[in-house]
């Protein structure tokens, strides 16, 4: 049995919806700049979705005074698009939703806590009810009328990739016929200050794989994919298939990646085996590529261990969107399917020069690649969590 992808939905700093993403990617338009809404003392570029809470509610047709976290709103927008795009009558299906998020409703928790810490009787309680990871998934499921199996995965920056993997496994096992998978995460002072305290935020635009890279730019957004058993609607044209998936652990350090990229190496190898591609190189790798010195060198080391001097073309589209944490795996999955659809390799923006640590160079200009068939997408997170997915045009 194969897992077919029949719907895509996405929102990030580079656009609202799949079409705007395709346009931005083609034209090299990134979404990284000083934030309009996130009110931090740190003046660093971020990939902020250019709509405030009331804009997002209006888009969704929600009441202005309804308390909903930014994480849930972004998720609802992307999931609606994926469901609509799939043309599935979701109420007639054995359907589920599996969503990833790292900090859930931390955007409103932070607002709540500012008042609460002064006086524990203060703070609008409705701002903290959506704190847990469940909240956004539940609201998305309600909003898109997904009444079956529902769960949330929270493994930091690989959350959405793991949600995609889990959806594939549940379809394979025959537990579900179709499932909406992806992730959502909003910018918050919590994560911005977290990465700042780790000293891996670049105060300029991030430069994944470049010699001068200093760190990541944080982003936000959401993306969902409709996965279905390929025999559910045999004649229905989809975007392609999820052919391989694997999760491995680096077991090296809570936040840093091992020098030889052990976890990444294992995840990529296992995903290739799962896809039946032991001797076939993917045509393109949408790398995790955060732009931190440690991640990028570790990830390339892992690729070099797999393919020696002839590693596949790769790039990091975090140079467009910033690192969207728990949503990144899904945002990059949609971007990978856009790559397959258009036979285009998206460039790593702002790459100039390789360094000794990162010998291999990413693609730095838009490249048409005839016959593009297989794309690998990597997502790594805190806790050594490494996930690799393989998307393919063919079954």
């Amino acid at each position: 049995m194969s897992v077919k992808v029949t719907g895509l939905g996405i929102v990030s700093s580079i656009g609202l919806g799949v079409q705007e993403h395709e346009d931005a990617l083609r034209h090299g338009q990134h979404g990284l700049k000083l934030p309009m809404f996130l009110n931090s003392i740190h003046k660093v570029p971020v990939g902020e979705v250019p709509y405030d809470l009331s804009d997002l509610k209006e888009m969704l047709g929600l009441r202005k005074n309804k308390t909903v976290t930014r994480t849930a709103l972004l998720g609802m927008i992307a999931a609606r698009e994926a469901v609509r795009d799939s043309k599935l009558d979701v109420e007639e299906q054995r359907i589920g939703i599996i969503s990833g998020t790292s900090v859930g409703g931390m955007d409103l928790t932070s607002v709540f806590y500012k008042d609460y810490m002064v006086n524990s009787l203060c703070g609008r309680i409705s701002n903290v009810v959506g704190h847990d990871c469940f909240d956004s998934t539940y609201r998305i499921a309600q909003d898109s009328r997904l009444s079956g199996y529902s769960t949330t995965i929270s493994t930091a920056c690989s959350s959405a990739a793991n949600a995609i993997m889990t959806g594939c496994r549940m379809i394979e096992a025959g537990i579900l016929d179709c499932v909406v998978v992806g992730g959502t995460d909003a910018l918050s002072l919590f994560t911005l200050n977290g990465f700042k305290s780790l000293m891996i935020l670049d105060d300029e635009l991030c430069r994944p794989f470049d010699k001068s890279r200093k760190g990541l730019n944080l982003g936000e957004g959401a993306a969902y994919l409709m996965l279905e058993r390929d025999t559910l609607r045999a004649g229905h044209e989809g975007y392609g298939y999820v052919k391989g998936w694997a999760n491995s652990n680096d077991a090296f350090h809570q936040t840093a990646s091992s020098d030889n990229g052990e976890g990444a190496f294992r995840a990529m190898s296992k995903a290739l085996t799962r896809a039946g591609m032991i001797d076939i190189r993917p045509d393109y790798i949408n790398a995790h590529g955060t732009g931190t010195p440690n991640n990028d060198s570790s990830e390339v080391k892992a690729m070099e261990r797999l393919w020696g001097d002839s590693i596949p073309m790769f790039s990091s589209t975090k140079s467009y969107t910033g690192h969207t944490l728990g949503a990144a795996g899904a945002i990059e999955a949609v971007i990978s399917f856009l790559s397959l659809k258009n036979s285009l390799i998206w460039p790593s923006l702002r790459f100039n020069q390789s360094d000794n640590d990162v010998r291999s160079a990413p693609e730095s200009i838009l490249k048409a690649q005839k016959g593009l068939k297989n794309v690998m997408s990597n997502s790594f997170g805190f806790g050594g969590n490494c996930t690799s997915l393989i998307f393919s045009i063919d079954k």
């Binding site: 932070s110 949330t152 496994r169 052990e262």
Partner: protein, 269 residues
């Protein structure tokens, strides 16, 4: 869906945290909640090793994650106005911190996932562990349930009136080692070291069979039934522990039920 429970462990002050987490730097940095979870998970995995079962995958469930670390970091940046922050509580605030630290402690490179979905967190994690076993992706899964009640979360649940509806919120810290029903038994030793907290199923050559049924809410008349309460998001894990203890006290089978599913536990020979 079925599996065997080889060992289980709940947090106890008697666990030898120092020998379970020998690196003093790591031990010092971990918050009490994370430390309890890591030590409990490692103890369950170590007990399984003594009967020849080696954990290769980890699936954890948490309703609210590492609240203490999250709150500490939240407070720090609000109070300090985003200046000179210690990254440690941020690093440990992710929901998969405990699963990751156990992998680190045992150098486990296998599958490692964390489910966080309010009252379904543990059932979703259990289903995932069962799926892993059925896919032959794992020989033994360490399944954990970890949630803490902090002063703040207790107070907020009270403000929301949840404690009145669901009862006083409770900490949960329980781990289980699950293997496939057809997993080979040859390596199991005859004389088990059960002096250590009595973690290994007794008697030595029987293990507990777990049978998970979706949409089965019928209450059987032929065996004891435990209805999971809602005092914690992970109450079902606690109910499983209670069920195992009842088996150890001589019950033949015990059923844990919820409004959506049932889990039948009985001795497997």
């Amino acid at each position: 869906m079925r599996c065997l429970i080889t060992t289980y462990q709940v947090w106890s002050e008697e666990l030898d945290v120092k020998s379970l987490i020998p690196d003093s730097n790591i031990r010092r940095r971990l918050s009490p909640f994370v430390k309890r979870g890591v030590a409990t998970g490692l103890q369950a995995a170590n007990s399984a090793e003594r009967v020849g079962v080696f954990v290769d995958s980890i699936v954890t469930a948490t309703g609210l994650g590492c609240l203490e670390d999250s709150e500490k970091f939240l407070k720090n940046y609000l109070v300090s106005e985003e200046q000179l922050l210690n990254p440690t509580p941020f690093i440990q605030s992710t929901h998969n911190t405990i699963g990751g630290q156990i992998a680190l402690g045992k150098k486990l490179h296998g599958y490692n996932l964390t489910f966080s979905h309010r009252n379904d967190s543990f059932i979703n994690a259990l289903m995932d562990a069962l799926l892993l076993l059925s896919e032959n992706e794992s020989n033994a899964v360490l399944l954990g349930a970890v949630d803490e009640v902090t002063a703040t979360s207790g107070h907020l649940l009270h403000r929301l009136g949840w404690d009145k509806v669901f009862g006083e919120p409770k900490d949960v810290c329980a781990f289980f080692v699950l293997t496939s029903v057809d997993s080979p038994d040859e390596n199991r030793s005859d004389s088990l070291d059960i002096s250590n907290d009595g973690l290994v199923m007794q008697p030595s050559h029987t293990r507990v069979l777990l049978e998970f049924n979706c949409n089965d809410i019928s209450t059987p008349t032929d065996c004891l039934t435990i209805t999971a309460d809602k005092s914690s998001f992970l109450s079902i894990a606690d109910s499983l522990i209670s069920a195992i203890l009842l088996l150890e006290q001589g019950e033949e089978s015990v059923k844990v039920i919820d409004n959506k599913f049932s889990i039948l536990l009985k001795w497997h020979s």
